[in-house]
């Protein structure tokens, strides 16, 4: 069930143009699936009238906390990144449909570009804790891409859940190039791809997935107003017509999309 919850920032880590906020809920958290998002109210910023949809990076039900990894894009996200420990944050969650759970012996490749790495960590954790997957011999690999090494944050978190492969456009970390240039594509057996990142990256990943005949889901981030499928602003034109990314997505199988 979707809820409006008042959170408090209890921990914070800052990066070059991003921040990781740990937020504690005032009430027990609803069940959250990997790939769902939070719609965050921005207080104290006159340029941000609407909420900001932010991927859920991690969830801790024991301590009633969620982690949000937020990139500074414009005034609204800058305000969120500037929040201090102790600040109150009003959030609507969980929104949208998450990623589809893999089958038990799937080899899973989670591809993140830039801030698009954010939802992949929690989704990977939910794969690990999923009963039907837990005992199976399956492998979770992350392929994370950035323009430069400072774009790639929290790598230890990802390494604790799966193998991590990296590309950077300038070659400052991992292999040089885009995620679709990585050498793992020639060697790794992959059954399922989950991708989140800039549109050109996701389109390139979808193209590779189609060529190789690999099942693939992508998470879109069209501009939203309501976040719950009421305003019809964030539509993606799909094979089924215009669909709200917030409600019918943000995760779509590439077979539903026109690209």
């Amino acid at each position: 069930m979707k809820q409006i919850i008042d959170f408090v920032v209890i921990d914070k880590q800052t990066f070059q143009r991003a921040a990781l906020l740990k937020l504690k809920s005032s009430t027990p958290l609803p069940e959250i699936r990997g790939g769902q998002f939070a719609n965050v109210r921005v207080d104290g910023c006159d340029k941000a009238y609407l909420r900001r949809p932010i991927s859920i990076h991690d969830v801790d039900y024991q301590n009633n906390t969620i982690d949000l990894l937020i990139q500074e894009k414009h005034e609204g996200t800058k305000t969120l990144c500037a929040l201090s420990v102790g600040a109150n944050v009003n959030i609507v969650l969980p929104l949208g449909n998450g990623f589809t759970m893999p089958e038990k012996d799937d080899n899973v490749l989670l591809i993140g570009g830039g801030i698009g790495i954010a939802p992949l960590l929690y989704f990977a954790k939910t794969i690990q804790s999923n009963i039907s997957c837990r005992d199976a011999i399956h492998r979770i690999s992350f392929l994370l891409g950035g323009r430069t090494d400072s774009d790639l944050m929290l790598l230890d978190r990802f390494r604790s859940v799966g193998d991590v492969f990296i590309t950077t456009n300038d070659g400052s970390l991992g292999e040089k190039g885009f995620v679709t240039d990585h050498s793992l594509w020639n060697t790794m057996k992959i059954n399922k791809i989950y991708a989140c990142g800039p549109m050109p990256m996701m389109k390139a990943v979808a193209k590779v997935a189609r060529e190789k005949g690999i099942w693939c889901e992508v998470s879109l981030e069209n501009q939203m107003a309501c976040g719950i499928g009421a305003c019809l602003c964030c539509v993606e034109n799909t094979k089924e017509g215009n669909l709200c990314v917030c409600k019918e997505g943000p995760v779509f199988n590439i077979e539903r999309l026109l690209w």
Binding site: Y49, L50, A225, G227, A230, L232, V235, N242
Partner: protein
């Protein structure tokens, strides 16, 4: 106990708060946040005779204290509404009102007649003011003759409460409201969105796919309040006020300006539970001010 009931012709609202078309889906989208039985009414998404895909993305631009949209009446058509959506929402314990739009008079009439046959829809809101469709929509709502024609034609086939939603993109909104009244409207609701636009200075491109779009949100409230006041002075039928209402205080201001009831629109996006909060807040205001019946507030501005 404050009396909050509002009686309009053929339509009784348990309180003055309704939700504005296009901001509340079909009510279902908000059922996790709002007990719909606490609202006077829910006005569902604009419905046209035929399926409409709406305009291309991007359809939204955030503006200071507001937003522009150019959704373009995306909906699956009146038959789909009747067959698929109506059975799911007909038993809501509130007034479910359908916003009806069209690109020619025949379409309005046919769609309205179909909805007239639905037992649990006590009213329609005639949308003659959508700025985001190329033909029709606002074209009918910006001239007295246009609004008269469409209202009169729909009045002939529609037998329940007929609310006509007015465009603010006119020189004299009171004249337009009078035209709707003379053509048989039971009430007028105003304002629909104000035509606006946004440009990305970096790319020199318009932000919206249609270049222009409808402005809504807190920023339009003073304009809406003024128009409600002007219209309420001019017409005898009830006026439903909307435009930027984000709190119970805002709602009270509209009642004082002459609105018999109000609608909450864009504020639903910022706080999905705001509609029920406003309904409670209006009752609290009345208690605080010793007002026994909310109807006493209507047109109660002291000059």
């Amino acid at each position: 106990m404050v009396k909050t009931e509002i009686k309009l012709k053929g339509l009784t609202l348990k309180n003055p708060v309704m939700t504005a078309s296009g901001t509340f889906g079909y009510g279902e989208e908000y059922s996790d946040f709002v007990d719909l039985s606490e609202l006077g009414g829910v006005i569902v998404k604009g419905t046209t005779l035929h399926h409409r895909e709406g305009n291309h993305y991007p359809r939204m631009a955030e503006t200071p204290m507001g937003m522009l949209n150019c959704v373009g009446l995306q909906n699956k058509g009146v038959d789909y509404f009747i067959e698929t959506i109506y059975p799911r929402i007909r038993h809501f314990e509130t007034n479910v009102i359908v916003n009806v739009s069209g690109s020619n008079i025949d379409d309005y009439v046919t769609a309205a007649a179909k909805i007239d046959a639905l037992d649990n829809i006590p009213a329609i809101e005639l949308n003659v003011s959508c700025p985001n469709v190329k033909q029709g929509g606002m074209a009918f709502g910006v001239t007295c003759s246009g609004i008269e024609q469409v209202t009169k034609a729909v009045r002939e086939v529609y037998h329940k409460h007929l609310m006509v939603k007015l465009s603010p993109n006119v020189t004299n909104i009171a004249e337009i409201a009078l035209a709707a009244e003379s053509a048989g409207a039971d009430s007028v609701s105003l304002i629909n969105t104000l035509l606006g636009m946004a440009i990305d200075a970096e790319t020199r491109k318009p932000i919206l796919s249609m270049v222009t779009g409808g402005l809504s949100g807190a920023c339009v409230k003073p304009v809406a309040l003024r128009m409600v006041w002007q219209v309420a002075k001019a017409v005898k039928i009830p006026v439903i006020g909307l435009g930027g209402i984000s709190s119970a205080t805002d709602a009270i201001e509209f009642l004082l300006a002459g609105a018999s009831a109000i609608q909450i629109g864009t504020a639903n996006f910022i706080d999905p539970s705001i509609s029920a909060k406003v309904a409670k807040g209006i009752a609290e205001y009345c208690e605080r001010h010793g007002v026994k019946d909310v109807n006493e507030l209507v047109g109660g501005m002291i000059i």
